[in-house]
Symmetry: C2
Amino acid sequence: MTNASYKQFCPVAMAAEILCTRWTVVVVREMLCGSTRFNDLRRGIPRISPALLSQRLKELESAGVIVRKGGKGEQGDYHLTPAGLELKPLVESFGLWGQRWIASELSLENLDVSLLMWDMRRRINPAPMPRKTSVIQFQYSGLPAARRNWWLVVDPKSGTDLCSVDPGHEVDLYVATDLRTMTAIWMGLETVRKALGDGRLKLTGDRKLASDIQTWLGLSLFAPTKRAA
Amino acid sequence: MTNASYKQFCPVAMAAEILCTRWTVVVVREMLCGSTRFNDLRRGIPRISPALLSQRLKELESAGVIVRKGGKGEQGDYHLTPAGLELKPLVESFGLWGQRWIASELSLENLDVSLLMWDMRRRINPAPMPRKTSVIQFQYSGLPAARRNWWLVVDPKSGTDLCSVDPGHEVDLYVATDLRTMTAIWMGLETVRKALGDGRLKLTGDRKLASDIQTWLGLSLFAPTKRAA
DNA sequence: CGGGATCCGTAAAGATACTG
DNA sequence: CAGTATCTTTACGGATCCCG
C-alpha cells in the first residue's frame, strides 16, 4: 500500500504520503524532542512495536528525513536531516490544533506515568534551582507499587536523570499527587496553585524549591495554548 | 485500530490519531479548497474508494472537524466546522514542506490531467480577463483522445466551469502543450515564458488573453515556495 | 446521476517471542 | 541494546450493487 501511492502531484498529498502513516508523526515529534537511540524512541512511544518502529525509521531514512549513523549491526544513532528539522512547524501545527480542539477529558483518558515523567525530565529548567544537585521524588497515589515512585535527579551542570527505582540520594522535595492531577497541570489544564488549594497536590521538603515549582517545572510545550472546545 | 489508540496524552499524538490515517489530510485539503459534495470530493481525490471516503467523512464528523448537512438518505453537504477551518495552517505546513523537500521528478511522476484541470478551475483569477465570458481550450498532446481536450469557461460573474467535452462555445484562446509541461508550470517548477520559448507550449487566439496568461492562470498555492532539494 | 453500502482478497499493524 | 521473526487482527483497495 505504501507503494500504491496517492498518485497526486499536489505537495500536500506527497508529504502526507510520507508522514501520514501510523505513528510516523509521533516518531518525528520524539526525534525533534531530542531522542536519537532506538530504545529512547521506544520509551517515548511505548505502544509502538519494535518491528514497526524499525520499519518507520527505515522509511524516514529513505525519505531523507533522518540519517542513521553506525554501520549495519552496530549501534544505530538516528538524527534528523535538514529536511527533518524543517518538520518542526508541521509537528507544532499538530500540537497546537490538538491542544485547542481535542476535549481535555479525552487527553486525560490517556494517562501514562512513565510518558509524563519522561517528558518532564526533558523540560525541567534547572536555572531557578539551587546550584547543587536537587532530588525530587514524585509519589503517585493509586498506582501499582512499581510505578508509584519516581525520582528526578537534577544536576544543573550535567542535566536531569529520571529513575523509577530509588537512586538512594537524599530527597529535597516530595511531590505527592495523583496522575490525573499532575498530567492536567503539565498540559496547562489547571494550575499548581489550584491543586495545592484543594489538596490534590502536596509539596513537602525544601520551602524554596516548593514555592518556585511553577518556574522550574517546565510544562508541556503546548500548555500556553488557549483551548477552544 | 482506529479505536486502539496511541494512548498518549500529548496533543501532537492525539491530533495525529485523528488526522494521520490514510487519505484523511487529503480529504481535509480538498474541503479547505471548497468542495462540499461527496462527488466533488471524489473528483479531487480520484483514487480513494467511495467506501473509504464515506468512512473518513464519518470519522471527521465525529471528531468535530466537519458537519454533514442533510438528513440520512438525503443529499449530503459537508462543511468544515471552526475546528476544521483551523486545520488550514496544518495543511499548509504539509504543502510547504512537500514543495521544499520532495524531489520534483517525483511529483512529475504523478501526472493527472483531470486533477490538474480541477485545481486550475479553482484558482483561475477572472479579474484581469475580459468582462465577457472567456473560453479557453487546453489541448494536451500524447493523451488518449477522451482526455486530450479540456475547456475552461470563465464567467467573471458566475465563476468558472470545467468541461471535458466540447461545450460548443467559441474558443478565445487555445493552449497546446503536454501534461508534464503544464503541471510543471502549475507547480512553479518552470515558467510560461520558458515553455513558450522552447516550443513546449503554444498559445493561439486572443493576443491580450495570451500575453496576460501569467496573471489570470493562478498557479498552485505552493508554487512560490523555494525548493531545497 | 448523486450518494452511498457490501463483499472479498491483499496489505499493514499489534502482540509476543527471540537473537547477535 | 538494538533490533528480527512469527502469528493474528485490523485496515484498505477494488468491484459490484443498491436506492431515491
